[in-house]
């Protein structure tokens, strides 16, 4: 630059129409909408949730009452999907069990994310000794066999819905913690983190307001997928008999009907299909989110 250069400020884009600002979440939605399998997944998931919420008030048969002959095959009575080994209506079980299953899946996933993100964020942000300690704790939880550990937790405390959700959360947060830590390690070195610090951002602000939103895309995907795995986990525990005796869940239906699987395959098939559809839908949505968020990352 020459010493005498005193060009007056020129508005670089004066006169041109401004591009309409599009928020990142809106862009993700636009990408997501073009993904057919993800939209199908979203539709299935939406349908399952709606049925679980309003179904019980529309289809008023109680899932606990013995309404017909035990082990009636589907289509042979007014109870469309047949009955189980106690003569309870399977359709009523499915409709009512959805609530419990989805609630457990969702709350276990929330717990997974809460624990995992907190530990990963602290470890990744502070590094050094804190990182060391937290990562050793994470590894301790990682090497425990998940199912056994969850069984022990459920058996120690009563198998209530809350305890089951907590048990699932406690065994599944480790991978979220590792992912969060990796993201934090990467993002904390970014120029904008340094810049935020230089204008007076404290640690708490840097962690929650600066780094976490930037680390969010992969975490959102993991959160979505962890709902699916929590549902599977709950089904697994129920299958082994560790379910809340006061709540009807799909996993519990499978567990209850397991001894009669050779006489009445429908008793386990229908709840199995329900679980399969739900987890499939969640996985499709999760993959769709992943695809929708990632090109955005590359663009940045």
């Amino acid at each position: 630059m020459s010493v005498t250069d005193t060009t007056p400020p020129v508005a670089a884009t004066a006169g041109k129409p401004l591009p309409k600002p599009v928020s990142p979440s809106r862009q993700v939605w636009q990408m997501f909408r073009q993904n057919h399998s993800a939209m199908i997944g979203l539709f299935i998931l939406f349908a399952i949730i709606v049925i679980s919420i309003i179904g019980p008030s529309l289809y008023t048969v109680s899932p606990r009452d013995m309404v017909w002959m035990p082990l009636t095959p589907p289509g042979q009575s007014e109870y469309l999907l047949g009955t189980d080994y106690l003569g309870r209506d399977l359709l009523a079980g499915l409709i009512n069990g959805g609530r419990v299953t989805i609630t457990i899946g969702f709350s276990a996933a929330v717990l997974t994310i809460l624990i995992g993100v907190t530990i990963g964020a602290l470890a990744g942000f502070f590094g050094g000794r804190i990182d060391n300690v937290l990562m050793r704790v994470t590894e301790f939880f990682q090497v425990l066999p998940n199912l056994l550990f969850a069984m022990v937790v459920v058996m120690l405390f009563s198998p209530s819905l809350i305890n089951i959700a907590i048990a699932i959360g406690i065994v599944s947060w480790t991978s979220t913690a590792r992912l969060t830590r990796a993201e934090f390690l990467k993002i904390r070195e970014m120029d904008y983190v340094k810049a935020e610090r230089s204008i007076g951002a404290g640690n708490a602000r840097l962690i929650w307001k600066v780094i976490l939103p930037n680390a969010a895309p992969p975490l959102i995907v993991v959160a979505a997928l962890s709902i699916g795995s929590a549902i599977l986990f709950e089904a697994g525990l129920s299958f082994l008999g560790l379910s809340d005796p006061n709540a009807m869940s799909w996993g519990r239906m499978i567990g209850d009907n397991r001894p009669y699987i050779l006489d009445s395959s429908w008793g386990v098939t229908f709840p199995g299909i329900a679980i399969f559809l739900t987890v499939l839908a969640i996985s499709l949505v999760g993959d769709g989110l992943n695809d929708a968020i990632n090109p955005k990352l590359r663009q940045r």
Binding site: L18, A195, I199
Partner: protein, 334 residues
Amino acid sequence: MTSSSPLLSVRDLEISFRTGGREIPVVRDLSFDLSAGETLGIVGESGCGKSITALSLIGLVPSPPGRVSKGQILLNGEDIVTAGEDRLTRIRGNEISMVFQEPMTSLNPVYTVGEQIAETARAHFGSSRAEAWDRAIEMLKLVGIPSPEQRAHNYPHQLSGGMRQRVMIAIALVCEPKVLIADEPTTALDVTVQAQIFDLFRELQRKIKAAIILITHDIGVVAQMCDRVMVMYAGRKIEEGPVRSFIRDPRHPYTRGLISCIPKLSRDPSDTPEPLFEIPGVVPSPADLAELKGCAFAPRCNRAINECQLHSPALTPLGSDRAVACLRQEEIPA
């Protein structure tokens, strides 16, 4: 040096980095003052300690491995070196702000620029959301961004480099700091945009009376912008003075070299251009310097004598407002 009590006063600053079990100083015996409303240029080659000095002023020397190992940084009489992290957080942004070299990556990509300015204003003034937003738009207007109401809703990736640097400046100035540190603020920008940014700096300085520390290796920028210049070489201050005397009558051989390195334009096209001057060699590494007894520039200096290899020259005052660290500065013809 101005006689009025300085806003910022750096005394015998030493910054060290620990590598391989040894602590190696990268900045040594650095003292300077900055008065309100003044613009101080810090000039030097890459690796001479400019940027780390700037970071130390806001308590952001990466630690470990680095630390301020000696000296004081007094801001209105308060020592930044010994201040706690809480206090530093309050000083940053309110008293001292910094604009970084990389406008392309220094803005948070997930927030709109308006939100980023407003958030800073909220954190510092505790103002309401609506007030902070108005303040953000006001700042965007102040730094010369056209249609600020719409631009405030833009994300950083939707803005050009010059625009982003303006936003960075807006963020740095929203709390009206007393000192603004600009670390090569225009290196990543076009020359035309560079001129706009500097005009902006001058204008803002008039408006909010901030002192500016401008770190650069561009002598042209210094001549245009600064009141006073400090030349650093290998972690030390080797020359300091008003910008006029620095350009017209550089005393240190290194400063002379720097100024000779600027290509000169001739009005007469028939003139054969002189070959461009270059300073031979490179800046010695801080690790080598630790063992060096003499002047750090001696190995590259065309006026070095034997004595230069023996002991490091102290900074000696020259007139009322200049200082040079060279054994032979008196012998060198003006």
